[in-house]
Amino acid sequence: MGKSDEMVTPGDVLGRATELKPGKGAYVASQNNTIYASLTGFRRILLPTPDSPDQRPIVEVTGHKAHGPVPEPGSVVIARVTKVTARTASADIMCVGPKSVREKFTGIIRQQDVRATEIDKVDMHLSFHPGDIVRAVVLSLGDARAYYLSTAKNELGVVSAESSAGATMVPISWTEMQCPLTGQIEQRKVAKVVS
């Protein structure tokens, strides 16, 4: 590892499954037990941990600058709400965990995933507005258009929102945020502030 790693492209042969285990960016084709690359990048070999039963080295394809973080089921994401309809809210995912993403991912928060209690009485307009920044967890890869996100926990929900007067609002309860300029209270599904 470290000596001039070669650049590989999707479809390039990386090795045989008898000698190597596929890692990130690689997969094994069971018909002929060969490991192929599925991403573009540099071929790297990692030594196996001494206590694992399978002592094959792991081959992975990494290091290309286009490899930003990708949302996975269970990861906490920060997203900006783009559209709110009667039953769903669409959001653009901006960060996965602590890292910002390099390409655009879209997520959808469905009415039943906004909160954990009384899910059929949720009013989407009293939970999110377009432009709000929300913290959500990825439920699944969803359909071809968007990931499915959920805000059904206390620490998930609207993190930052702008009032109709244009100021950043201050959260005052788990359903309300107040504008500091005008004192108007607006309803949102507010994320619990972790102090």
Binding site: K83, V84, T85, A86, H125, H129, P130, A165, L181, T182, Q184
Partner: protein, 240 residues
């Protein structure tokens, strides 16, 4: 250049204001709760106008701006006349002369179930009530009143629909009855449905009556009470 002090609020009531005018200064009105209606916006301590129109005040504490426009901005609990544009699985798409198409849920009818979904052709005229009208979302409509009864909402058959400004629609719906409608009602018998979105539907037994009623209403927007009565008499002379 003189600097004009903002005059006391009473001088703006019932007078014309334009967007940007500061109509109320909250720092001089302490310990009052005032309600702001359409067209007004709060910037810390100053209330400024967002629409051009007349500032109105109703006791004890409501301020709003009245103006007549061709554009309609959907508000909750308005009754409007909508035209069916498309039908999807769960709702009909209705044009109500607003910034976005409105949704009419397929079950929003009296006794509506999945089994008896009404079939409206594209172009059907409906009398509807606005249920939800949030900024940025498509408005939601209903063909029932708040308690679930049909109450005259639904498709309007026959007749003639024409478009007016929102100000004229509000005048036609005001009480006591608008002078032009009272004058027409004394001589003709007709049916009328007024939508706050600037659409009016008239139906009568003969086409002559419908045309006279429609023309009278369209002419009456900028006329005073006496002028409206004279105009109606003039039009009625021609058909009798």
């Amino acid at each position: 250049m003189e600097i004009k002090q903002s005059s006391s609020p009473t001088s703006f009531i019932d007078s014309t204001v334009v967007p940007g005018d500061v109509v109320l200064d909250l720092s001089s009105m302490t310990n009052q709760t005032i309600k702001l209606g359409g067209g007004l916006r709060q910037d810390c301590d100053a209330i400024s106008a967002m629409k051009a129109g007349t500032l109105r005040f109703s006791k004890p504490n409501k301020y709003w701006i009245e103006s007549s426009q061709k554009r309609y901005v959907p508000c909750v609990e308005d009754t409007v006349l909508g035209i069916v544009v498309d039908s999807k699985a769960d709702n009909f798409l209705i044009d109500i002369k607003g910034p976005a198409l409105a949704f009419l849920p397929v079950l929003a009818f009296e006794g509506g179930t999945r089994r008896n979904i009404p079939k409206f052709e594209v172009g059907t005229l409906l009398y509807l009530r606005v249920v939800k009208a949030n900024f940025g979302m498509n408005p939601e409509l209903s063909c029932t009143d708040a308690s679930g009864k049909a109450a005259e909402f639904g498709p309007l058959k026959d007749g003639y629909m024409f478009e007016t400004s929102t100000g004229l629609s509000r005048k036609l719906l005001s009480s006591p009855t608008c002078p032009v409608l009272e004058a027409l009602g004394k001589k003709l018998s007709f049916e009328i449905a007024v939508g706050l979105n600037g659409r009016v539907w008239v139906n009568a037994a003969s086409p002559d009556t419908i045309v006279v009623a429609a023309n009278a209403i369209m002419n009456s927007e900028s006329l005073s009470t006496a002028q409206q009565i004279i105009m109606v008499e003039h039009l009625l002379k021609n058909i009798q």
